[in-house]
């Protein structure tokens, strides 16, 4: 009889998360010629950084984890939060919740770099751009930014770049959202921008500024006519950015019609849960002449080789991965999944539905205002859409009465209260609020007969005249059946992780387990306002504290900030903490940032945003930092050296032996070491970055810790810091304006960034435990080396370590076969689509090669299928090189092959249709069909079209 110990199922999740079975692992080790995983690790990871038994916490089963999460979510008190401040509760349509937000076909997709296999989410993003363009009345919009605060900061730097003004002064209206002001101040300071906060109606005309930021409606709900302000500003040579509420824009005159050059905002209230602050999709729209300067991704319309309409990411050369320190911004991951929820909300409701929702919100408030005024309450607003502020002798008392009834209001000092009505507010809520505020029972009848026209909320001159969402796409999917099918059709066009391995180097596309994903849409985690009183969010506090603790153990650092919304933001935050540290020691003039030439583009882009001077350090032929060049550059810049940014393992996937020495050289000169943690995947459980040199690192929770890629966001990019940097971690918004302490200002709008997706990483760490996480790292390294070994007979493997081994990813050199056949790395990538694969990372870090990262989640069968595909493709290139297939007509050059292309009446190609579509000879029932052929990228960038094409160009039935 087995012992009680046999009942223990606490580590059952490990074998669910890890793809290869123990038998598979033994087989892979045998293929590589190793006795054990430990032997492989000892040869891959340098002795001087490898640690045994680094992580000492246990694991729990999926059921146990879900139970623990239930308990934590129950400690978050469920309230109706009318706090406003940019966050408003909303109804996520159930059809969108189930078929998109909670659907792995949508959330496990990667950023749509491979456009031919991403037409679904590209269309949804194009719809998002159209929504923003219509609501703001601007000719151009991007496909999401991280939050309203950083979008406003990006608007500021955009205006500085493109404006003619020589001024270094930027005006911010005092009635902007306070967290927006805080984030803008943080962003402005390193760049030497002088921010002037004041009243736009009286102060702005006296100032010489390069730009101004206004809020519409303002934080207290007032709707001002800024037409004259805009004219005056333009005459003086300044540019205008307006932060606007998209729901208000349904009823209000849009900023594009009264002088805005840029409009930013958040689409959270279009069906995206509050989530204790995120994730939400922010937007930016701008004038035509700034289209090449807009940060973030832009979706454009082009066509494929057969002339069919096709969508793609346009103008990518402005972005960090190409322009590096000259990029428009450091932004990489955005908020695609949430942008798609918001765009589907608009597709589902359509213009009339949105108008009804906006009118209802406004009417609710009109009724409330009229009741309050009749009862003698002094409501300050002369205008409003959904927000008012009223005077009261006891703000705290009103607030307490409201809380007792389940409502959070916004206390403003001792004698004023604000409140914002939202889509979920009911008539019963209004009646209750009246009672709570006037503190006596109201009479029912006047509510029916009350004189609403006496409290006209929207100024007549600012009532919206122009139509919105006129494109047919927003007017045809209004029944649930039609909507469900539309989302399904788009999902089907995309190749996401729920269908095949996505072996993108450095992206770590591992399993996003169902148990990890389920809790994020529970009401206890999703219906929480980011500025709710802290005593209502003890569940989140507990989860956040535990997650921070675990991440500190995993990285070997002392302090963590979970605020940054993406790796790029983490980098930026990390560099700012270093800057603040030097300043605290009286060494402000340290501003040189050393960056290896092999670094990811976000590194130099982030350095520039922190006002550091980028100095490139050479890498040697192995892709390692060249130590003698490092010593030279350090000596040259010694007194001014602020930091070095290293990626470890390197961007080439190698555990550089000299990492300790690199850190020592920089420390000796008084600089700090920032470590880019994109490759943390190769270190969890087997080494501790906080112990071998770096002072700060960022993590990508959407890589190493299972937050899904969402098609291009959300992301979470925390920074972990050593003890001496802890005091400088970002402060939370709303505390900046009354802050003491040395922390850098907030770098995101919400205190804990995208808090509602933190349970995903918490669950992953909890269910894997220390030994499970370690095994995951080991298997990911094993799988990458297995692939390298299997492909080494056909391709060179670049940049192996001293033992001929790679870390968690390998670089396959396809240049020989490409040059023999006169094809490009693009041709190979597109041909892989016919084999049912998303290409590995192309041409980075080395041009015309592939970087492959399988992760620990891929089953051996899928890894073998990928290797087989690469080998077969190598064989196909032989046929081109030998002349059997002509160079201009072969399966690679014609890839990807759509079903439509294959069903042509005549087929004159030198290969069969079967070879085109089923290249490994098997007519697989799970065949993925690319929906468009090779897309014309040049045409798409030459004539940029970012709005929805005419409905005729969409395929019938999607």
């Amino acid at each position: 009889m087995k012992s009680i110990a046999a009942l223990d199922c606490s580590n059952e999740f490990v074998s669910r998360h890890i793809g290869p079975s123990d038998k598979d692992i033994a087989y892979m080790l045998e293929t590589l010629g190793f006795e054990s995983i430990d032997q492989l690790m000892s040869l891959t990871i340098p002795d001087n950084i490898r640690v045994d038994n680094a992580l000492n916490f246990g694991s729990m089963s999926e059921a146990q984890a879900l139970c623990a999460l239930q308990k934590m979510s129950a400690k978050n008190i469920s309230m109706k939060s009318l706090i406003g401040l940019g966050y408003h509760d909303t109804h996520t349509p159930s059809v969108i919740l189930r078929n998109l937000l909670e659907n792995p076909g949508w959330y496990t997709a990667y950023t749509p770099y491979q456009a031919e296999i991403s037409q679904g989410r590209l269309e949804a993003l194009l719809n998002f751009q159209q929504v923003v363009m219509d609501l703001t009345a601007m000719p151009m919009a991007n496909a999401s930014l991280l939050d309203e605060g950083t979008a406003a900061a990006e608007a500021m730097t955009l205006m500085m770049r493109v404006g003619k003004s020589k001024s270094k002064c930027f005006f911010v209206a005092v009635d902007c959202l306070p967290q927006t002001i805080a984030v803008v101040l943080t962003r402005a300071e390193p760049l030497g921008i002088d921010v002037h906060i004041g009243d736009p109606l009286t102060d702005l005309e006296k100032l010489d500024v390069f730009g101004a930021l206004l809020q519409y409606p303002n934080v207290d709900g007032e709707i001002h006519d800024y037409r004259e302000v805009a004219e005056c500003l333009h005459k003086a040579g300044g540019l205008l950015a307006v932060a606007a509420d998209p729901m208000a824009l349904v009823l209000l005159s849009p900023p594009g019609e009264w002088g805005a050059d840029i409009v930013v905002g958040s689409t959270q209230r279009f069906g995206v849960p509050l989530g204790f602050g995120g994730p939400h999709a922010a937007f930016m729209a701008c004038r035509e002449e700034y289209k090449r300067q807009i940060p973030g991704r832009v979706i454009g319309v082009s066509s494929d080789k057969d002339g069919k309409v096709a969508f793609r990411m346009a103008l990518q050369t402005r972005e960090q991965h190409i322009r590096r320190e000259k990029a428009t911004s450091n932004i990489c991951t955005a908020q695609v999944l949430l942008a798609n929820v918001a765009s589907m909300y608009c597709v589902y409701h359509g213009p009339k539905g949105l108008e009804q929702i906006a009118q209802r919100i406004h009417l609710m408030l009109k009724i409330l205002v009229s009741q309050l005024r009749e009862a003698g309450v002094s409501v300050r607003n002369t205008s409003f859409f959904d927000t008012i502020v009223f005077d009261t002798l006891g703000a705290e008392a009103v607030h307490k009465r409201a809380m007792d009834k389940g409502y959070n209001l916004r206390v403003i000092g001792a004698e004023a209260v604000g409140l914002s009505v939202n889509e979920t507010t009911t008539f019963d809520d209004i009646k209750e609020l009246v009672k709570v505020i006037i503190n006596r029972v109201s009479r029912e009848e006047p509510l029916v007969n009350c004189n609403l026209s006496a409290s006209e909320g929207i100024p007549h001159a600012l009532v919206r005249q122009s139509a919105i969402l006129t494109h047919p796409i927003f007017n045809k999917y209004h029944s649930e059946t039609a909507m469900m099918r539309y989302m399904r059709v788009l999902e089907e066009k995309d190749l996401a992780l729920n269908r095949a391995m996505i072996p993108l180097g450095s992206c770590t596309m591992k399993l996003n387990a169902a148990s990890e994903m389920m809790p994020i849409t529970w009401a206890g985690f999703s219906k929480v306002h980011p500025f709710a009183p802290l005593n209502q969010t003890e569940g989140y506090q507990e989860l956040i504290a535990d997650l921070e603790n675990k991440l500190c153990q995993i990285t070997g650092f002392s302090g963590i900030s979970l605020q940054p919304n993406a790796g790029s933001q983490g980098e930026y935050a990390g560099l700012l903490t270093i800057r603040a540290y030097h300043k605290s020691r009286g060494e402000d003039d340290r501003d040189v940032c050393l960056i290896p030439s092999s670094a990811h583009g976000t590194n130099p882009a982030s350095a520039v945003m922190s006002n550091m001077k980028v100095v490139i350090v050479e890498c040697d032929a192995d892709g390692d930092v060249n130590l003698s060049d490092l010593r030279e550059k350090v000596a040259l810049h010694k007194r001014k050296l602020a930091a070095i940014m290293v990626t470890y393992p390197s961007t080439h996937g190698v555990f550089e032996e000299g990492i300790r020495e690199i850190c020592q050289i920089v420390h000796d000169a008084g600089g700090q070491v920032y470590m880019d943690g994109a490759n943390l995947q190769a270190m969890v459980g087997i080494c501790l970055p906080g112990h071998f040199g770096p002072d700060v690192m960022h993590l990508n929770l959407h890589k190493t810790f299972c937050i899904p890629h969402g098609g291009g966001g959300p992301g979470v990019g925390p920074i972990a810091v050593a003890n001496h940097l802890c005091p400088f971690l970002p402060t939370t918004p709303l505390s900046l304006l009354t802050s003491e302490g040395m922390g850098i200002g907030p770098i995101s709008s919400a205190p804990w960034g995208s808090a509602s997706i933190l349970p995903i990483s918490w669950a992953y760490i909890a269910m894997m435990g220390g030994s499970g996480l370690t095994k995951a790292t080991q298997v990911s390294i094993l799988s990458a080396n297995y692939i390298a070994k299997k492909l080494s007979n056909h391709f060179d493997i670049l940049f192996t370590g001293s033992n001929g081994l790679v870390a968690h990813e390998c670089i396959i050199d396809t240049r020989k076969i490409q040059s023999k056949a006169k094809i490009t790395v693009d041709d190979v990538a597109k041909r892989l689509m016919d084999y049912g694969f998303h290409s590995p990372t192309m041409s980075w870090p080395v041009a015309q090669t592939f970087m492959v990262e399988p992760t620990e989640s891929e089953p051996l069968e899928e890894i073998d299928r990928f290797c087989e595909a690469m080998i077969l493709i190598a064989g196909e290139t032989e046929k081109i090189a030998s002349g059997e297939w002509p160079n201009n007509d072969n399966p690679l050059v014609n890839a990807p092959h759509t079903a439509e292309y294959l069903m042509a009446d005549t087929w004159t190609h030198p290969y069969t249709r079967k070879q085109a579509a089923f290249p490994n000879g098997e007519m697989s029932v799970s065949k993925y069909w690319p929906t468009v052929g090779r897309i014309d990228n040049a045409a798409g960038d030459r004539s940029l079209v970012c709005s929805c094409p005419p409905i005729e160009s969409y395929m019938v039935g999607g």
């Binding site: 990518q316 050369t317 402005r318 190409i322 990228n937 030459r942």
Partner: protein, 125 residues
Amino acid sequence: MSIKYSKDHEWLVIDGNIGTVGISNHAQEELGDIVFVELPQVGDIVGQGDEICVIESVKAASEVLAPCSGRVIEINEVLDSNPQVINQSAEEEGWFYRLEISDFASLSELMDSEAYETFLLAGEE
């Protein structure tokens, strides 16, 4: 009217004191399909080595540096709507701008066709 090249792959053709500037055929090949170029404005004063514009292709963006100093007197408006002319005829129809040259001495730093060819071959090793 001989053509001169800079080591950043720009070319200059001199006619009296007027120079015409563009990027070399090698440069357009390296860049791939060109989608956008923002030219300087007539009247701009440029110094040798100044960044005069950024040229964008689908896969790359590159600074174009002025091969010599002077004042811009004419720009090739065709490139605004048809940047692909640069790919088709980089050293003739794809010219960027003309300028009044101000510093003839600095032209000695530029290479003639043969020297440029040699320079390109050396770079490939």
